[in-house]
Symmetry: C2
Subunit: 263 residues, 2 copies
């Protein structure tokens, strides 16, 4: 609190906040709390767009361990997604273009990690998560949990995700508008990768050709988290299908240590 | 925003805020917004207890003008209080000990300001404003507006105010408890003094013998805003009464300039 209050006072003195600006800030913060409920957390969104979430995440993780980099959890994760066998199709509504996602989980010495859990979720080809369109999209659409095999491999079929805007109808939207800041998150897949004895990784893989990569409003992009959504590539695996138009490889490295990144 | 975000990041890095602490802060800010409504503004209270309100006020006012110092408006002001003639009794419920409040309004050259408006409000002898106890206390209890006479004088009868706790049943109360900070505001009278051609003064006068003077949770006390609540002093004025046990002198100086301190 001492540090927070000191820096808050320094900022106010630096720009000589006026009483009218102060009142605007009070109103903004109040609206940010009042629009939040158990399905929407506008203060987390504010933290995201101010780069606070990424900063806290960076401070919490040892970036020298060799593990896959973390990025923001985001507001759309839902716990206890269905467990599927590798190769399963997580499209509960068949829209967009099918994409095969496959990869391996290894430790920092390059050894496969068998039995690792991958919790995956993403937006659809229109940029919507199931929870945003409960009337149109089946519950658990484009969500699932997978377990790596004895070689540390996993794979599944999904829909190629689209970039999408963060919620802009609240105070955070007003703030970004006032600052002329963009709203569009580049296309990505979410992953939480866990395995006994390893530090969890909460991250995304981004479409490295997405035109919005450089303007992520929540500042979540890291160069190590880019992957190519390859068109029409022959693939071998448990989910071959002529109708699968894209392939994305998403590999992960876990570091030893059982620490919970949320603690 | 650039300054605010830079200082916010500096504070987070300085103390290495953990994800759990970050989540605690998100929850705290959300609750602070959600408990606020048109009768309670918890973010203003938060600003008050962090010294932000006083800092913004200090930056907004020329403290070298010779005018009476400002202090926090507080959450209990109600606009359009009844207008009374000088000497009137603003106790709509007869509780506590009567106090005669009198003084003059002058300009920075010492000349009386006739026709100045004084908007006054205060807590009662139990520490409550009318708006806090709408079932027990009449509306406009211990509130009123007065106009200075040709000599710049005003006076009225009121109830000697008691110190009182700031609201402690919300997130700000939890914060002060966690920091072992006191809750009690020292006894005071509120004034807004306005006159055409002068900068308004929003201030308090504090009981200079109140034991809580040094621990004002909103940091509103200034040495120039202390006055003595004198017992049993003979007074001359329009409101003589043997039943008036106390006298408080509250003088004001206005500086030229029509600027609105709230702008």
């Amino acid at each position: 609190m001492e540090s927070m209050v000191r820096h808050l006072h320094e900022a106010i003195k630096e720009v000589r906040i006026t009483p009218a600006e102060w009142m605007e800030a009070i109103t903004f913060l109040t609206r940010t709390g009042q629009i939040s409920d158990n399905k929407r957390q506008e203060f987390i969104l504010l933290s995201d767009v101010l780069g606070v979430s990424m900063l806290v995440d960076t401070l919490a993780h040892d970036t020298t361990s060799g593990a896959t980099a973390n990025t923001v959890l985001g507001p759309f994760h839902v716990s206890d997604a269905p467990h599927y066998a590798n190769g399963a199709d997580i499209r509960l509504k068949q829209t967009g273009e099918a994409m095969w996602v496959a990869g391996g989980v290894r430790d920092t010495e390059g050894r496969p990690v068998a039995g690792a859990n991958l919790d995956v979720w993403q937006a659809d080809d229109s940029g919507f998560y199931d929870v945003q369109r409960p009337n149109d999209l089946p519950e658990w659409n484009l969500r699932g949990q997978f377990t790596t095999d004895g070689n540390g491999h996993y794979d599944f079929i999904t829909s190629k995700p689209l970039h999408y805007p963060i919620p802009s109808d609240g105070p955070v939207g007003d703030l970004l508008n006032a600052l002329d800041r963009p709203f569009i998150r580049p296309a990505h897949l979410h992953f939480i990768v866990t395995a006994d004895g390893y530090a969890p990784v909460i991250t995304h893989y981004f479409d490295d050709r997405c035109p919005y990569l450089q303007y992520d409003p929540v500042l979540g992009v890291k160069s190590s988290l880019l992957t190519r959504f390859e068109p029409n590539v022959e693939h071998s695996g448990s989910a071959k299908s002529d109708s699968v138009k894209w392939t994305a490889r998403c590999d992960f490295v876990l570091a030893r240590g059982g620490d919970d990144p949320s603690a």
